[in-house]
């Protein structure tokens, strides 16, 4: 193992090269770095403006975006700590660093819109309206959890909120999101579905098949690739020959859009356009958000890893989505530092309450083991 690690370190230049480039790109185009990289030949073209649009979102929207991000961050920090303390069984893949993506996308969705998530799924659920109590209860394996404790972190889901599950299978989500989009089109409603997936997942055949079908049937679906530069311990340069996953969009016949995934407004705008297109019958979009996970693939430890440098992590943290957005909220007079701190404290209290609730909750009963394997009429 030690030898393997040495080798991983030696491989680093390639890794940091890729990520540095992404960093530079997103830093250069400050507030809403976004470009259409590929247009489908016949798919309707997005009118993408440079920078944030004039008619900005309301203060309520800004606050809501911030609240989502902060709730995710604090939930994940706490969950990670609990895992390290041995209170949560299994493995947690934490979303810290990527909050802007889930928040910016979910701001446009109602409970009637579907999403599919990934193994790194807590953030998507929180942004979709997931409550701390049943979420922690699920992570603790208690019967009060969203899945009665039977799914855990990797399968956490809530149908009422339009959340079709985290997924233990990389690339498992996109075909399901495509199916949900088909269902929306079939029923003639205006709901959309969003498939979240990683840069690593973009190499699964399932993702290509789902994207092709969504484009072919012009389904109300948005494929959101959260490119955090790594699939487990392999840098993007070690798993695909391209830098921008959005390049693949033209091959599917849908627009491809890249945005700065560390800027919640950039995500909000790019996602808004893609979702609007999907809702209005314009078909799917591949939206790539350049982002970064601060922690390790599993658990908390983010620094001192063999497969990436601490400098790289620091560089991304400088662009932290929550920090920069809070500065902006203060500048715009939307919220004061004091209000932000109070909100943070309130979230903290809510978390502690939820953890007590979860740890006081009962485990599923032995009888529940064989429940819900099948749908049983009248049960």
């Amino acid at each position: 193992m030690a030898q393997a690690k040495k080798k991983a370190a030696a491989k680093k230049p390639a890794a940091s090269k890729t990520v540095t480039k992404a960093t530079k790109k997103s830093v250069a185009k400050k507030p809403a770095a976004k470009k259409v990289v590929a247009k489908a030949r016949k798919a309707p073209r997005t009118a993408v403006k440079k920078g944030a649009s004039n008619k900005g979102p309301s203060n309520a929207t800004l606050k809501s975006l911030h609240l989502k991000m902060l709730r995710i961050r604090r939930f994940e920090e706490r969950a990670g700590k609990l895992m390290e303390d041995g209170k949560v069984p299994g493995a947690l893949h934490l979303y810290v660093g990527q909050e802007a993506v889930a928040s910016g996308v979910m701001q446009h969705l109602s409970n009637e819109d579907w999403i599919t998530s990934t193994h790194r799924g807590h953030g998507h659920l929180v942004a979709k309206g997931g409550e701390f109590k049943p979420m922690f209860a699920e992570l603790f394996g208690r019967s009060t959890g969203y899945c009665n404790g039977k799914g855990g972190s990797m399968h956490i889901s809530n149908m009422d909120l339009g959340m079709l599950g985290a997924n233990g299978i990389v690339g498992g989500g996109p075909p399901i999101a495509m199916g949900a989009a088909f269902s929306n089109q079939f029923k003639g409603n205006k709901n959309v579905s969003i498939a979240f997936f990683g840069d690593g997942a973009s190499n699964e055949g399932s993702v290509h098949e789902a994207a092709n079908m969504a484009a072919l049937y012009k389904l109300p679906c948005v494929f959101v690739c959260e490119n955090n530069g790594y699939g487990e311990y392999t840098p993007q340069s070690g798993h695909q020959a391209i830098v921008d996953v959005a390049d693949r969009a033209s091959g599917y016949g849908m627009p491809g859009v890249i945005c700065d995934g560390m800027d919640v407004m950039a995500v909000y705008e790019a996602a808004g356009e893609a979702i609007e297109r999907a809702r209005s019958g314009g078909g799917p979009t591949l939206l790539e958000c350049k982002t970064y996970r601060y922690y390790d693939h599993v658990g908390i430890r983010g620094m001192g890893l063999t497969y990436r440098t601490d400098e790289e992590v620091e560089a991304w943290k400088k662009k932290d989505a929550i920090n920069s957005f809070e500065k902006r909220l203060i500048q715009l007079g939307v919220m004061s530092r004091k209000q932000l701190d109070d909100l943070d404290a309130k979230i903290g209290e809510e978390l502690e309450e939820a953890i007590v609730y979860a740890s006081d909750s009962p485990y599923p009963t032995p009888g529940q083991l064989l429940e819900d394997v099948y749908y049983v009429k009248g049960a």
Binding site: G151, M154, G205
Partner: protein, 333 residues
């Protein structure tokens, strides 16, 4: 590692025995390489590929994208054309992603081609529950594979067998799945440094006994041996057979044992319905019906996906206590 004090028996954990098995093969066979997700730079998520990249270089120790269809196809295509690939499928559950390459290509190609193609490919994969990894990272799907004519499937229960079976599998000119167990990674025992084979298709009697024969698969062998110890205390002497190979299955060793004990209990971690235990039961009664003094019994997982909650996962996984109870039931005690 290589300079251990000579006379002392060398003890290795399962995880390092796997490593040594792969290493031995890569040293012995120039046409071998190992490919899989995070096997090279990271040394595999389980650590069993540690150091391989350093010793053999990136031509033979290959990190792949997360593309199981592609990875398994690589194994099929490369083995049919002169290589001896070792393919690493991180979790057995991911078979779902590549079952066509496994079931319709790898297993059948030689037959379909009238014997003109040979596929010396070995797939290493990891099964088993117990770590709170939930429904998609905990399954025991060996029956899926054993159902495929053309496929061989082994389940090493300890470090010695892990190394020896990997070597045998890689020397075999057929596709072989080596189904490893993630709860066994730290289990240590004496493992010879030299190259050796553990024959594919041969079960082994782990404990002699006279009252009942337990046939166990993979990690369940240890639960069965535990149960055998507990049963000694109540005056019962059971025989424990480690099946080791699922396909081909060593019916002869099992039947010989049953002719002595007249009772049989099959133990596996996979779901009971459609599990390999049903097949073994049928084979025993076809070949040794007249020797049986009791119905053949099974201890296996209930018919449910693997639950996440530790409270349920504990109930789900077959254990020594359950085996003891079932043995007593079989003996009408």
């Amino acid at each position: 590692m290589s300079e251990a004090k000579k006379p002392e028996p060398r003890v290795l954990p399962y995880v390092l025995a796997i490593n040594e098995g792969i290493r031995t093969v890569l040293r012995e066979q120039d046409d071998s390489f190992i490919a899989g997700e995070d096997v090279a730079a990271a040394g595999s998520v389980y650590g069993y590929c540690g150091g391989l990249l350093d010793e053999f270089g990136s031509r033979r120790v290959i990190d792949t994208p997360i593309s199981e269809k592609g990875i398994m196809g690589l194994g099929v295509g490369a083995s049919a054309t002169g290589c001896r690939p070792i393919i690493d499928l991180m979790f057995m559950d991911f078979l779902g992603e590549c079952m066509d390459e496994v079931a319709n290509q790898m297993a059948k190609m030689r037959f379909m081609f009238g014997g003109k193609a040979t596929l010396p490919v070995t797939v290493l994969t990891m099964g088993g529950a117990g770590g709170g990894m939930a429904a998609q990272h905990s399954q025991s799907l060996e029956a899926w594979l054993a159902h495929l004519p053309g496929m061989k499937v082994v389940m090493p229960s300890d470090a010695y067998d892990a190394k020896g079976m990997i070597i045998s599998a890689c020397r075999d000119d057929n596709p072989v799945f080596v189904v490893l167990n993630k709860q066994s990674l730290a289990m240590s025992m004496e493992v010879p440094e030299e190259s050796y084979e553990v024959p594919i298709g041969e079960a082994i009697v782990r404990k002699q006994g006279t009252d009942l024969t337990i046939v166990a698969f993979g990690r369940m062998v240890h639960e069965a041996l535990d149960a055998a110890e507990q049963l000694k205390e109540v005056g019962l002497n059971v025989e424990v057979i480690d099946a080791r190979s699922v396909q081909p299955f060593d019916t002869a060793t099992v039947v010989t044992s049953i002719k002595k004990t007249h009772r049989a209990l099959i133990v596996h971690e996979a779901v009971k319905f459609g599990g390999i235990g049903g097949e073994i039961t049928a084979q025993i009664q076809e070949e040794a019906f007249d020797y049986l003094d009791a119905p053949i019994m099974r201890v296996a997982a209930p018919f449910s996906p693997v639950p996440f909650s530790p409270a349920l996962e504990k109930l789900y996984i077959p254990n020594a206590a359950g085996i003891v109870a079932k043995v007593k039931e079989t003996l009408e005690l």
